[in-house]
Amino acid sequence: MVIGVLALQGDFIEHEKKLMKCGAEVFEIRQRRDIERDFDGLVLPGGESTVIGKLLHEFNLFEPMHKKIIGGMPVLATCAGMILLAERIENDENVYFGTMKMTVRRNAYGRQLGSFRTLAEMKGVGNIPMTFIRAPYISETHGADILAEVDGKAVAAKQGNQIALAFHPELDECNMIYDFFLKSI
């Protein structure tokens, strides 16, 4: 199984390590020619959504990637990645792929002093550690299925081929989310 990891900015290397540990083959997507090869799944990492969203356009990656997501390619998106998938961002006029029927709030827990780690139940996965770094949350769903909540806020959602997480499974020891994602392919 070959997974493309968007490697424009952010903690993509941590995702790559996790995916390899779970038996996947990985490669980095940094420019147009990288996305032209065959692959089975896509990971959108954490980082700054403003940077990643801008560079997607600048490197002509936006259109081909958008097509793949709409075409049903399995996607795992974390933090900034979740913002890229949301069809509406409550406190930002930008919309990127806009393929998931939900509204998210950027930097929803405030600045870095609001970052935290917790344990919570995720449907279909189990009780897992969740690390939130200047994280967003899902303020409203218009169709995406909510898979996890922390303190009454939705932090994980699935809609068909797309899984979006407000937290960072790539930073914790637990591999359960990667197994969940790879099994869905």
Binding site: A7, L8, Q9, G10, D11, F12, I13, E14, R30, Q31, G46, G47, E48, T50, V51, K54, L55, E58, F59, C79, A80, N91, D92, R106, N107, G110, R111, Q112, L113, S115, F116, R117, T118, L119, P129, T131, I133, R134, H168, L171
Partner: protein, 291 residues
């Protein structure tokens, strides 16, 4: 589950990887930096080249000015305090800054002690010119390291020297037998536990950026090829002829630092680079502050 602030702070630095952190002095510059693709901004009243030109004592920026920049952008905002000036750091924490840079660019407030950064909830980045300095700052609680380079010069030579030195020392530790690590810790003047971590992992236990002298996309890509995980650009952007274009080009150069064809395109038509000063033309070596 326990909320380990230090761990969370190291993890914020991980989110900045592959990105460019830009020095800005006004909300307008901060917006230019954000729309050019900066992954964070450093808010300060004067960029290093102007600090160098003005001389005198340079201190933490006015909190009101920093808050203006925090309100202007959605990306993380960093600010500098003087080496050893823990009260300036307390003030920056009170306004909820995302990252504090305990920086040799400002005049040191303490010629012996750095800030005990473990006492703070807010993360710190510190400069280093070799592995010993890097590990001493980490042991004091820094959750991110950058090369010192030589700020405000537009001259990359010192950042290169510092990055190469750090990498060479890391490789040397890696090749040592375990019983040699105790002596290495003594020579480097750092805790044995950190030496052991570097020996085992072949890298610093925190994210390591390049800083001090980056002026062109090629400079930024050079530092990435030498192993930097991201780049700080201080005077290089807003001291140049076309800040918007240069900033955007440096961001793209950091993402595709190995693609020389793309680097060639990015280096075209950027206008005047900052003038720059050679290291033997300057009287003040900021990198010699705080060891």
């Amino acid at each position: 589950m326990e909320n380990n602030r230090y761990q969370l702070n190291k993890e914020l630095a991980q989110m900045l990887k592959g990105g460019v952190i830009m020095d800005v002095t006004t909300p307008e510059q901060a917006k230019i930096a954000e729309s050019a693709g900066a992954c964070a901004v450093m808010a300060l009243e004067r960029i290093p080249a102007d600090i160098r030109a003005a001389g005198g004592v340079s201190r933490m920026s006015d909190p009101k000015m920093i808050k203006g920049i925090m309100d202007a952008v959605s990306i993380p905002v960093m600010a500098k305090c003087r080496i050893g000036h823990f009260t300036e750091a307390q003030i920056l924490q009170a306004i909820e800054i995302d990252y504090i840079d305990e920086s040799e660019v400002l005049s040191p407030a303490d010629d012996r002690f750095h800030i005990d950064k473990r006492k703070f909830d807010v993360p710190f980045v510190c400069g280093a010119k070799d592995l010993g300095e890097a590990l001493r700052r980490i042991s004091e609680g820094a959750s991110m390291i950058r090369t010192k380079g030589e700020p405000g010069t537009g001259d990359i030579v010192q950042a290169v020297r510092h990055m190469r030195k750090m990498n060479a020392e890391i490789r040397r530790l890696q090749s040592m037998s375990e019983d040699e690590l105790y002596d290495a810790a003594k020579v480097l003047q750092v805790p044995y536990e950190l030496v052991k971590l570097v020996h085992e992992n072949g890298k610093l236990p925190v994210v390591n950026f390049a800083a001090g002298g980056v002026a062109t996309p090629a400079d930024a890509a050079l530092m990435m090829q030498l192993g930097a995980e991201g780049v700080f650009v201080g005077s290089g952007i807003f001291k140049s002829g076309n800040p918007e274009k240069r900033a955007a080009a440096i961001v793209k150069a950091v993402t595709n630092f190995n693609d020389s064809k793309m680097l060639a395109e990015l280096s075209e038509d950027l206008g005047e680079a900052m003038v720059g000063i050679n290291e033997d033309e300057i009287s003040l070596l900021m990198a010699e502050r705080g060891k």
